[in-house]
Point group: C2
Chain length 224, copies 2
């Protein structure tokens, strides 16, 4: 074939909304290079494994999440010469959107992982700052025209919870009343359940599940 061979890794930008902030799961690396420094979870693709399968495997190893119902997509590949001191490594970045989860367990490689607000993250190993930035940008863009925001919510959720996702990801405030009408009038976005839930004060809110809709026309946010 050719002599210029690459090791191929997958790295994961795993996003969630915690305490009103868009957050990502980072690991503290246990082995060189960059041992002890924070980075994205990831690892090498196995000999007979496809890329998405490798990403699913890493996601499970790092978070204990089975992928069912969660969103996982390929982001982009990064292969600049010198991005890994060990040699030629191509990394295929992936983007996962998950509901707010309990603080993760220590991974199988005994690496420590934890959630960090993306606004405060910098100085990651390799070119992971850039991969994270592309993941965040993609997530923001997709919220505008898709129903993906619901993947940040638990299986059953209220309109307010969904609104807080948009507000956290975009750093904006949305009118609760107009937001309500917008999402409930989008066909197949939200499936009402019979239950309601009372969260402290105020009228109890109706619970919804994700509908089958994937695209959102017209967009959730106009102009700039």
């Amino acid at each position: 074939m050719r002599g210029n061979l690459f090791a191929v890794a997958v790295d994961l930008v795993i996003l969630t909304v915690r305490d009103g902030e868009l957050s990502t799961l980072l690991v503290r690396r246990g082995v060189p290079p960059f041992a002890g420094e924070p980075g994205l979870p990831g690892g090498f693709v196995l000999p007979h494994e496809d890329l998405l399968d490798a990403a699913v495997r890493e996601l499970v190893e790092e978070t204990g999440l089975t992928i069912t119902g969660h969103h996982l997509e390929q982001l982009a590949s990064f292969a600049a010469p010198g991005r890994d001191p060990r040699g030629r490594v191509l990394s295929v970045g992936h983007l996962a959107l998950v509901p707010d989860l309990p603080e993760p367990q220590a991974g199988s490689d005994a690496v420590v992982s934890a959630w960090h607000p993306v606004a405060a993250v910098e100085g990651l190993a390799f070119d992971h700052d850039r991969i994270l930035a592309e993941g965040v940008e993609r997530a923001r863009a997709k919220l505008e025209y898709t129903t993906l925001a619901a993947t940040f919510c638990p299986p059953a959720f209220t309109v307010s919870q969904l609104r807080r996702v948009y507000e956290a990801v975009w750093g904006t405030e949305l009118d609760p009343r107009n937001f309500q009408r917008k999402v409930t009038s989008t066909p197949d976005f939200l499936i009402p359940t019979a239950e309601t839930v009372g969260t402290g004060r105020g009228r109890p809110a109706q619970l919804f599940r994700r509908g089958a809709a994937t695209s959102l026309y017209p967009p959730m946010l106009r102009g700039d």
Copy 2:
């Protein structure tokens, strides 16, 4: 490092609009595997080369195009086991949008290349049907919210030419009068030149150049 190494290639979905049809540049492969069969232009990444540089190099080799002013972006990576009979090969698909060009020269590898309407393409080598499909899907999606349609046009073009790009890529008809107002009222989309050009019958049209705008809010096409 690890024993599971990959060869890494770049493949190009090069799109243009010719005779009112969205078309792509295909090569007839000169060497095995799939010798004699059609496929996307592409080749292996060199030892000290980044992905985009490899894609630019292949674009020049296949079309003689220098990239200046043209659009080239990474699409996605494909690495399913068995996608290449020679062994483990990861291909990073790229998407290029170019103006209507003269029929390309024979490439340096003596491969024959030619434009084909995407609607009629199937049976490409490797998984290139799928890469092409993703490229076309991406191009269609991006036209909705960006000013990228202008990259299909020559340096100076009329509003009609631009409209025919949208009509070809989407297979729709657009009202010439509303389209005119839409694009001319989007700030920094079109820069008017002093010249006009008469194309056969009818009033001569004003010529424009691409402006600096990249995004288009609200979108060019609503609903479905």
